[in-house]
């Protein structure tokens, strides 16, 4: 009967960090082009010692320009989605909430399609054309965040039930727009958006995009973590939380914005990877309990591990072809979800 301590949280995170490191190493080794562990270790050391000229150039290209960035992207996307999912489950007091429940991914989808439509018509320097889709998606996500905020207010502040309703309706509306665009205008570019809609980590990102993803994750996750004990109380009810000293208005706003931004950034670079934001928080709750002071950081690690594993499977199981990572997370996620459900209510 001991309360949660910082040391305990730290030790569990360290364990997960080691697990994540191992998963990354295995992921680096596996791929359409196989690599031996010895060669990998030797070259990682060489990179650390800045002896990069000794590496063969296309080897370097494959490991450090394609595989490693992709794995790191998967790490941050997974962590962002899992933290966002846990936050929305607390904010909306709904165990079925996932990062996309308030329409952010659909808004990003509409934004990405709009960007694809406009791309040929806007004279952009070639270097920036790769930014078109992520920027368009992010703007779409931002627009949705703002719209749902105004829809979700009651007497001037966020009310969780109103927010949920407003978000779900907005999500449906935007999804209908996506389908409309998909079927009428997109035509020849159909293939690209279909992949993106399923969640896909295969496109290499511009350095600035990677920077935004990492920086955005740390800032938003930190903001959410500062409200961790408030979220514990919020789960018992908004009024109860208020009577226990929680500034419900401020906490709701911070968590809503930070979690939505995490989702928006993740979706803008990788499309809507499914099930991670819904299931990883439940799995971590199952293992570590529902105190958000440990749930948030372990969910971040858990999400990173899950997405890196799913992406590694996605790019090796039908090699040399690749599946979208969202297909793997759905295939594994759905049965796991059913299993969790039965455990809870059996």
């Amino acid at each position: 009967m001991r309360p949660l301590s910082f040391g305990y949280v730290l030790s569990r995170c360290a364990l997960l960090a080691v697990l994540l490191f191992l998963v990354i190493v295995v992921a680096l080794k596996l791929g359409a082009v196989p690599v031996s562990l010895y060669a990998l270790a030797r070259d990682l050391i060489r990179v650390a010692l800045h002896q990069t000229s000794e590496l063969s150039s296309d080897y370097r290209l494959i490991i450090f320009d394609i595989r490693l960035p992709r794995i790191l992207l998967g790490t941050f996307v997974g962590a962002s989605l899992a933290v966002a999912g846990a936050s929305f489950q607390a904010l909306l007091r709904n165990p079925l909430a996932d990062p996309y429940i308030l329409g952010v991914s659909n808004g990003a989808g509409v934004g990405a399609m709009a960007a694809l439509l406009l791309e040929p018509h806007i004279p952009f320097p070639a270097a920036l054309s790769a930014l078109f889709t992520p920027v368009g998606a992010f703007l779409g996500a931002l627009g949705t965040i703002v719209a749902v905020y105004f829809l979700g207010r009651r007497k001037g502040q966020i009310d969780s039930n109103t927010l949920l309703l407003g978000g779900v309706i907005t999500a449906s509306f935007l999804s209908a727009i996506q389908m409309f665009l998909f079927n009428t205008v997109m035509g020849r570019d159909l293939h690209g958006t279909a992949f993106w809609l399923m969640g896909d980590l295969s496109t290499t990102q511009q350095p600035i995009v990677s920077w935004v993803v990492r920086f955005g994750f740390f800032v938003a996750a930190a903001a959410i973590y500062t409200t961790a004990s408030d979220l514990n109380l919020l789960l018992t009810g908004e009024k109860e939380a208020m009577h226990l000293g929680v500034d419900v208005r401020r906490v709701s706003l911070v968590v809503y914005i930070a979690a939505s931004l995490l989702t928006g950034i993740a979706v803008s670079v990788s499309g809507a990877v499914g099930y991670v934001g819904l299931l990883v928080p439940h799995a971590m709750r199952w293992i570590f309990g529902s105190d958000h002071r440990i749930l948030i950081p372990t969910a971040a690690f858990g999400g990173a591990i899950a997405v890196v594993i799913a992406d590694t499977v996605a790019r090796t199981v039908v090699a040399p072809a690749e599946l979208p990572v969202g297909a793997i997370s759905a295939l594994v996620g759905a049965p796991f979800f059913i299993y969790l459900l039965r455990r809870r209510f059996a």
């Binding site: 004990s229 018992t236 009577h243 226990l244």
Partner: protein
């Protein structure tokens, strides 16, 4: 009671040089609720006043829709009154910052659904939240306070049990323990006896009387249980349709014609040996 820092920095502190005995002062507090600003209000609470001291139990008594819960929320500071004010130890309750308010006032409400159940001791530990800083991890002191709170409500044996696996009455006690862990000055309870059987009801009120005395709480209960109030309350505020009809001791307030009018029933009121009245319902009138 452990010391709670109380600086004069909060806006709303008034220089009231009253007798140190009066802790809670409800002064001409009124409220109106109208969903549509241009139309007439749906519900009003007319100006109400009463005072309470440490160790006192005050009951807000009345039938449904008499404004009891609204009055309780005004006392708690979660609603701002239309006019008048509520003073707790000199502070106007609704202008206190949320955290400071939670250190002084603890509310025990109808329990809501527990989404992700926790153990009883974790639940009670939540009562320490008003005293914790951001990213605070509970200290041994907090644990001691939580354990004591559980002991005070006679629920120590439940501390390791899951909240969704104990009975309604046991849950009620744990919720009360959480309120005690807040170490408040004022303990507010909204219809605490609703789902309890008679034995449990008496247990609860006995417990409250004991706690009020030992820990120097001021307790305000909202209820419609005539006889419980008669036996345990030091003061009664009788409400009907948004108006406070009378404030006083049970013996003073329980006048037969008045009670019959408020509760719409034929009653008989007798004075017991202890000086407390006893009410018997004869029949329901229209």
């Amino acid at each position: 009671m452990s010391s709670v820092a109380r600086s004069g920095a909060f806006a709303g502190r008034t220089d009231v040089s009253r007798s140190a005995e009066v802790r809670l002062s409800v002064e001409q507090v009124s409220y109106a609720y109208s969903p549509n600003p241009s139309k007439a209000p749906l519900f009003t609470l007319e100006a109400t006043s009463f005072q309470a001291r440490a160790r006192e139990i005050v009951a807000i008594l009345g039938p449904n829709a008499s404004g009891k819960s609204t009055l309780l929320k005004l006392i708690a500071g979660s609603l701002a009154p239309l006019s008048g004010r509520v003073l707790l130890d000199g502070f106007v309750t609704h202008t206190l910052p949320v955290r400071a308010r939670a250190q002084r006032i603890a509310m025990v409400q109808q329990e809501s659904v527990l989404l992700f159940p926790s153990r009883a001791w974790e639940f009670v530990l939540q009562g320490r939240h008003p005293y914790s800083r951001t990213l605070h991890f509970e200290s041994d002191d907090d644990m001691t306070i939580a354990r004591n709170a559980l002991a005070q409500v006679g629920a120590e044996h439940l501390s390791d049990r899951w909240m969704d696996q104990i009975s309604g009455g046991e849950r009620q006690r744990v919720i009360l323990a959480r309120a005690l862990a807040q170490q408040p000055l004022l303990l507010l309870l909204d219809e605490p006896t609703l789902h309890l059987d008679i034995g449990a009801q008496v247990d609860l009120l006995e417990g409250l009387r004991r706690l009020a005395s030992e820990n120097r709480y001021t307790v305000v209960i909202v209820t419609h249980e005539l006889n419980l109030v008669a036996d345990y309350a030091d003061q009664v505020a009788l409400m009907q349709r948004g108006r406070c009809l009378r404030v006083g001791t049970p013996a003073a307030v329980y006048q037969r014609e008045l009670l019959e009018q408020v509760f719409q029933a034929q009653l008989s009121v007798e004075l017991g040996a202890s000086g407390r009245p006893r009410v018997t319902v004869l029949s329901q009138t229209q």
